[in-house]
């Protein structure tokens, strides 16, 4: 079976972002970009399914600027077989991404689509679920374990109270949580090999989807700052302050 792994190019998770002084957004000039960490986990899971003989082909898809091709190359170096780049030069909303992915899914007929549970830039946590709805498929979100068995997949999910396991009919959508796996580093020979793997270049119009955002961003601001307080010297002083000054115990 084919596995599709949508991936997003985002600000590297180690970068401390800066809000533009004119409140028009976040300053992305000369900032290190990487694959969204949750998507990396998705790529790793797909490759492991291939190594186990469950998956036959892993296709990495990215919707974004030309530079997202580098992100696809990273996935190819990890072990994905080929890539699709849908070029869009501005922010793309989750529903738009889901619509494009739905069209790709119809053309490629994967049995499984594995996405990150959220992108660490817009923190929306929507695309996988929206894609599942558009395709009429089942979804296993926030996955910490994925077991394909015949024509179903069992997904163990990280939920508020602990873990929940659901059985989904294939084809299905999985979104990844942190503990699903630890993504591998690409080896140098694999990075070289990845340069020869094919990447299809597409546009949103190829899929009949209008990529224009529908939410209007009015402003982007710094979060309210919290001021540091005082240092206490002893545990006794701490308990005294919590009891008599702050009144929280």
């Amino acid at each position: 079976m084919k596995v599709l792994v949508p991936i997003k190019r985002v600000v590297d998770y180690n970068v401390k972002i800066r809000v533009k002084p004119d409140q028009t957004g976040v300053d992305l000039a000369n900032v290190k970009m990487s694959m969204n960490p949750f998507d990396e986990i998705g790529v790793e899971e797909a490759i492991r399914l291939k190594e186990k003989g469950v998956a036959t082909e892993v296709i990495a898809v990215s919707i974004g600027p030309q530079e997202a091709q580098e992100t696809i190359r990273t996935a190819l170096a990890m072990g994905a077989d080929r890539g699709i780049l849908v070029k869009v030069d501005h922010e793309v909303e989750p529903l738009t991404v889901a619509k494009i992915l739905a069209r790709i899914a119809k053309a490629e007929s994967p049995q499984l689509i594995i996405l990150g549970k959220q992108a660490i830039d817009d923190d929306s946590n929507q695309t996988g679920q929206m894609l599942a709805q558009l395709l009429g498929w089942a979804q296993g979100t926030f996955a910490s374990k994925v077991v394909v068995e015949g024509d179903t997949v069992d997904v163990t999910r990280e939920v508020d109270g602990g873990l929940q396991t659901v059985r989904l009919k294939l084809p299905a959508i999985v979104t990844t949580d942190l503990r699903l796996n630890e993504p591998r580093y690409a080896s140098l020979p694999n990075i070289m090999k990845a340069k020869k793997k094919p990447i299809d270049a597409k546009a949103a119009s190829d899929y009949g989807v209008d990529p224009a955002p529908r939410l209007k961003v009015l402003k982007t601001t710094e979060p309210p700052k919290r001021k540091g307080g005082v240092k206490v010297k002893t545990v006794q002083e701490l308990v005294d302050k919590l009891k008599n000054e702050a009144g929280v115990i």
Binding site: Q129, T221, Q236, L238, V239
Partner: protein
């Protein structure tokens, strides 16, 4: 603007996040109905009826909603959404699971994890793990919104709305519940606890978390952890406080052996009082702590427990 609020519950009882999301729902200006979808969920529906501001409570009681499977929940909500201008849900793992399906079915963008209602169609939400706030305006059409409930005060429970049964929708039948493994704890839940004590990588092992548990028992606190501690395998992921875990805002948050990575701060910086115990006085956590104690946690935490015990906690 008629609003449908999706209740967060475990069939037997209603979660506090529902009353908090009610405050956000009411800020939209208009009558608010609450949907309780579950199995044998009458007790949860009765509790929802007491939330002040509820017009009526819709109870969809059916086996297919017992575990809030997203496919079935979305089908139900989409069917009911016709009469409403906005649908809100707490941004719990349930709400995050089914709401985007509702938005996609209705072909509208979803607005995730709002922290304020700035106007009937204007909302603020955190992005980049809370390092920036974005104010967005929704287009005309239905509004599908999840609410970061720690940002809203709970509505009073002085109401007495009527409970009305609604019939189940036809689910797509593509998913089934297999089992669950819920963390059993006598302690309060992280999301609603008044006091939270969390450990980080500085705890060095999972066993050492019992030091925190002893303090937690004195203060009736929930125990949490940083992502570093979860990644290191000390504790399960449902302990995780942070942008990729739970967002908490208790009266008192005690961070022990936590350096204060941005991703952790995003999950707890709205706490009323923050205490940091860390041996590294340069740790960024001290920049947000109201009270900082530079000390070896393996000495300070047992001392804290002892001191609390001495004072009768």
């Amino acid at each position: 603007m008629a609003v449908l609020l999706i209740a967060e519950h475990d069939n037997k009882s209603l979660k506090d996040s529902t009353a908090k999301a009610m405050t956000a729902a009411q800020a939209l200006g208009g009558p608010v109905d609450i949907l309780v979808a579950g199995q044998d969920a009458k007790p949860a529906a009765d509790a929802a009826a007491k939330i002040a501001g509820a017009g009526k409570v819709l109870l969809a009681d059916d086996a297919q909603y017992g575990h809030q499977l997203a496919e079935n929940m979305a089908a139900l909500i989409v069917e009911l959404a016709g009469k409403y201008d906005a649908v809100l849900s707490p941004a719990s793992t349930n709400g995050k699971n089914f709401m985007p399906r509702v938005a996609a079915a209705l072909d509208v963008p979803q607005i995730s994890e709002i922290v304020s209602v700035d106007g009937p169609d204007t909302f603020t939400r955190p992005i980049y793990a809370g390092n920036a706030m974005q104010q967005v305006q929704a287009p005309a059409g239905k509004k599908i919104i999840t609410v970061r409930t720690t940002a809203f005060k709970a509505a009073e429970t002085t109401g007495s709305a009527s409970v009305e049964s609604v019939s189940a929708a036809k689910g797509p039948g593509v998913s089934e519940f297999v089992g669950e493994e819920l963390s059993k704890s006598e302690r309060p839940e992280l999301a609603s606890a008044k006091v939270v004590i969390s450990g980080g990588r500085g705890m060095q092992s999972g066993e050492n978390f019992h030091l925190l548990e002893k303090v937690a028992d004195r203060l009736k606190a929930a125990v949490g952890a940083s992502r570093a501690a979860v990644d290191a395998g000390f504790v399960p992921n449902d302990y995780q406080v942070g942008q990729t875990g739970k967002v908490v805002a208790p009266e008192l948050y005690i961070a022990v052996g936590i350096s204060g990575a941005i991703q952790h701060l995003a999950g707890m910086k709205d706490s009323k009082v923050i205490v940091a115990i860390n041996k590294d006085e340069e740790a960024p956590i001290f920049q947000v702590a109201d009270y900082g104690l530079v000390a070896d946690l393996f000495k300070a935490v047992p001392e804290l427990e002892e001191e609390l015990k001495k004072q009768g906690y």
